[in-house]
């Protein structure tokens, strides 16, 4: 089967950029990725975005004077960029295209995100309180897995420290656990600094067909998107009701099983992980859903520092969403770009030694969950 190589990446930093349009940010990321890939002929374009509106990808491609090919805009909540990547990789594997440009762009409103997901009556009833759903999930995780508020704070400390080493992160300051716990309570048990900030940014990658793995190549060995199975009242599908979900496999686990199977590897083969840390508890939940730790061992893993930079399997070396912020359409591709830099050995001060296999994970409303695996050869 045809392999998929990542031959160019480009990023616009994640943050707040009052004077820049979402199209301008996309243009910068796309130009950088195309330049790295030596400006190839592009057969198709997939653009991930949730808030950029009608034909957002077309506007970016028009601005770089590259049109005529199919341009497909993809919305899949927090996994929009990964959904675009999954479609692009599939089209190359199927032999439909040789070279595909994938990018994600976003310019999010500030504060609690207004989402068309919620019907007007649910908004009016006070049920569109997104951080409250995160808080309930955090509370259940703490109760069921013996996780403490201190543990949640330690996740923030880790990711913010990593973010200081990433020039593309929004927050560039270390924090202490005491400072995290002193930030105001948004929804008990989640304090402000335990929640990621919706923000702005863009990320682009060029995918190209590769007949076989050759030395120096960065291969996208899996790009899987899955949705939820019904039943989890606090799952990202955000339903109004649910049932006992102890036997219901979450979408992240569905996606990671597919990805591991496709790449013929398991969690122990992963050198570096970028995972969805919408809030600090979400990262700890992702650890077990991705098979990085046994459920209930999160506290011990935090204490062992295995998932810190310098540990056996660093998670969110980029700073994660807690340090970078979350521009929905761009965030998954931002993760993949981080992994590419880690595998190339160009991650600077946050370089993970001997990184060979990277895993990127997103999960969000829908539910949508994605897992991408990147290999270096």
């Amino acid at each position: 089967m045809t392999n998929v190589a990542i031959t160019g990446v480009g990023m616009h930093a994640f943050g707040r950029f009052e004077t820049k349009s979402v199209t301008q940010m996309g243009v910068e990321a796309v130009r950088a990725a195309l330049a790295e890939a030596a400006d190839p002929r592009i057969d198709a374009v997939f653009c991930g975005t949730a808030y950029a509106g009608v034909a957002a990808g077309h506007k970016v491609m028009s601005a770089v004077a590259r049109t005529g090919m199919p341009i497909v805009d993809v919305e899949a909540g927090c996994a929009s960029g990964a959904a675009a990547l999954s479609l692009a990789a599939g089209s190359i594997r199927a032999g439909q295209y040789k070279t595909v440009l994938v990018f994600g762009i976003e310019k999010m409103p500030k504060g609690i995100i207004r989402s068309t997901f919620f019907e007007p009556w649910r908004e009016q009833a006070g049920l569109a309180a997104t951080p409250a759903y995160f808080a309930l999930r955090a509370q259940r995780l703490m109760r069921e897995r013996g996780i403490t508020k201190q543990d949640l704070a330690e996740v923030v400390v880790k990711n913010r420290a990593n973010g200081v080493l990433n020039p593309n992160a929004m927050f560039q300051k270390r924090v202490t656990a005491d400072e995290v716990l002193a930030s105001h309570v948004v929804c008990e048990p989640l304090h402000l600094w335990m929640l990621c900030s919706p923000n702005e940014g863009a990320a682009a990658v060029v995918l190209q067909a590769a007949r076989r793995a050759r030395s120096g190549i960065i291969e996208l060995s899996a790009a899987v998107l899955r949705s939820h199975l019904p039943g989890s009242v606090l799952g990202e599908a955000t339903p109004m009701s649910g049932i006992d979900d102890s036997d219901i496999t979450p979408p992240t686990t569905l996606a990671v099983h597919d990805a591991y199977e496709r790449a013929g590897i398991g969690p122990n083969d992963i050198s570096v992980v970028e995972c969805q840390d919408t809030d600090a508890a979400r990262e700890l939940l992702a650890w077990e859903e991705l098979g990085l730790c046994v459920p209930g061992e999160q506290g011990a893993f935090l204490a062992s520092r295995a998932h810190h930079l310098g540990g056996s399997q660093p998670v969110n070396a980029s700073g994660g969403l807690l340090a970078k912020g979350e521009p929905l359409g761009a965030s998954a591709l931002g993760q993949v770009i981080e992994l590419v830099h880690q595998l190339r050995g160009t991650a600077g001060a946050r370089q993970v030694e001997h990184a060979r296999v990277g895993l990127a994970h997103t999960v969000g409303r829908g539910a949508n969950a994605s897992v991408c695996l990147v290999h270096s050869h």
């Binding site: 919620f118 009016q124 006070g126 309930l136």
Partner: protein
């Protein structure tokens, strides 16, 4: 004052209220709000049912800033109550807005909640008959 969504939440003339869900006999599963097929199996043998008005507290927090579109009081309690009879876990507002004043598993009962803008939604409050 009227119900925020009469299909899901019915307020009777005497002021009592009930959540309206669905039950599929073939899949033996309840759901809320009622829809025209079972969300678990797709079965269409849906019976409209009035759900039990009592349950136990399964998760709880408080919302400290008004979310988009909401005109009611802030802070307000927010959580999940597991209904006694159906074992269905329902997203709900909570009368108690101090999360530290609530405990897991405590008995709760359904009530109306003034969501502002002249509409009533549902909440669960501590069941003092406990």
């Amino acid at each position: 004052m009227q119900s925020i969504n009469p299909e899901a939440f019915e307020i009777r003339a005497d002021g009592s209220c009930v959540l309206v869900g669905g039950y599929s006999a073939s899949s033996d599963k309840y759901h809320f709000p009622v829809q025209d097929c079972c969300p678990y199996t797709g079965a269409t043998d849906i019976e409209r049912v009035e759900l039990s008005t009592c349950g136990t507290l399964w998760a709880h927090t408080a919302v400290t800033a008004a979310p988009p579109g909401y005109a009611g009081p802030v802070p307000y309690g927010f959580g999940v109550v597991e209904l006694t009879q159906e074992r269905l876990r329902v997203i709900t507002l909570l009368r108690e807005s101090d999360p530290l004043a609530l405990r897991f598993g405590q008995h709760m009962r359904l009530a109306t909640f003034d969501a502002g803008a002249r509409v009533l939604t549902w909440c669960f409050e501590s069941d003092r008959s406990e």
